[in-house]
Symmetry: C2
Subunit: 253 residues, 2 copies
């Protein structure tokens, strides 16, 4: 990845992933969406609904990465504390956001826009909204921190709104070749030599195990398609040198 690629960090905020109650479905979606715009995800943290942990983590990672994305903790209940923690991290008041407030108030029947729901219309001062087509309650961007819902389909709708507004970097291209019946340990030395000569390409080696036969997928990633393809061409030759059949592309699952 080039230095021209802005970096991203994802914070998954919520006890439910840490306790094993919920299988995370957000990392993969966000990783792919950001990869498409040349903004590689460089770190993910899953942290609990604990005020000081959220505040400290947000302040650490917003200084370290170009963009921070958060999911979770922006609903109406007592364990939804992400929004007020972001305000605390930035040292600004947490207050009704006029646009979010007006929109949410209008969407409820009289008397139903109660204090719990009003919390969802409160944001750090200076935040701009991330609207979505699924729910009325918006996410928001504060500085380089983008705060989204934890429910996957709402988060995805927020990403649909947010991603086109972000300035990415050169696209990261990926080329792959895989082989069945040749263990990683056999080709590791040859792969390492290829990696040594292609310092601008990240070569990953991923063993897989399945009914149709065990094998290895070798993935070359970088900004230059020609360089990634030069790597897969060399990997193809390496596989052939073992008398095995190189199969272009990712293995079909």
């Amino acid at each position: 990845m080039s230095e021209k690629n802005p970096t991203a960090c994802l914070l998954i905020i919520g006890n439910e992933v840490l306790s094993g109650r919920t299988q995370d479905a957000n990392i993969n979606h966000i990783a792919k969406r950001l990869g498409e715009i040349g903004m590689p995800l460089r770190e993910v943290r899953v942290i609990p609904d604990v005020r000081q942990v959220i505040v400290d983590t947000v302040n650490e990672v917003r200084a370290k990465f170009d963009h921070v994305f958060t999911t979770g903790g922006i609903g109406p209940t007592h364990d939804d504390i992400t929004s007020e923690c972001i305000a605390e991290a930035f040292g600004v008041p947490w207050e009704p956001h006029p646009e979010a407030w007006a929109k949410m108030e209008a969407s409820y029947k009289p008397g139903e826009f109660n204090p719990a729901r009003q919390r969802m219309a409160k944001m750090p001062r200076g935040a701009s909204l991330i609207e979505n087509v699924i729910s009325v309650a918006p996410g928001f961007t504060m500085g380089n921190v983008h705060v989204m819902a934890g429910v996957p389909r709402i988060m995805q709708a927020m990403m649909d709104t947010l991603v086109p507004t972000l300035q990415g970097g050169p696209p990261i291209v990926s080329r792959a070749v895989h082989v069945i019946g040749l263990p990683e340990g056999a080709i590791a030395e040859g792969l390492g030599k290829i990696q040594d000569r292609f310092t601008d390409v990240d070569i990953g080696s991923y063993p897989f195990y399945r009914a149709g036969g065990n094998g290895v997928a070798i993935v070359a990633k970088g900004n230059d398609p020609a360089r990634a393809e030069a790597v897969t061409a060399e990997v193809t030759d390496l596989i052939l040198s073992f008398g095995k059949n190189p199969i272009p592309g990712e293995p079909v699952m």
Copy 2:
């Protein structure tokens, strides 16, 4: 969770989760296994195969949590650098582990225990092995850091070996009640009041969306089953006060 519960942190090491190529399957398994022995997972980090990031992260989290579990990066290829990074983090040599070396050497045909495979038998000095029934190459424990494979079925086999050796804490019990057709925003205020009175129980509120009807699952977690059940009893009354039907247990997916 009581202060008697030792804490755990999980490091998922590998570019493939960060790039979106691979859907993580390890967080959930490890979270559940550790919950069963009263060792709550307090943080997860997904980090890339970058030496300095691994070394710094390991040193940060091994000081901060009672136990650290890592997955990924202990295979034979150039991008498998976890083991040598753990040695660097602990400031000890990375060298052949006699027991692992002998076992691995014996498992290969003459000439096939090549330098790449020999890397899998090298460990930080002082490490103890984590055997597994799936693959010959072991993981290892170094201090409070438990280093495992990234391939889910191998990691799970290593957890089978490792978990019985760990000293956990009081079991964390979980009780749940759910309701369909009652939005989170309606019960949020009542839930918050219950949480205020039960400071030893973590009450989580998780909306769900599905064909059979949208609803909310309310989960009470703590060390004392009676206290968790007292919470779900109060939540049950809260749901009844809205004229809705409380359903004990997690929603059936």
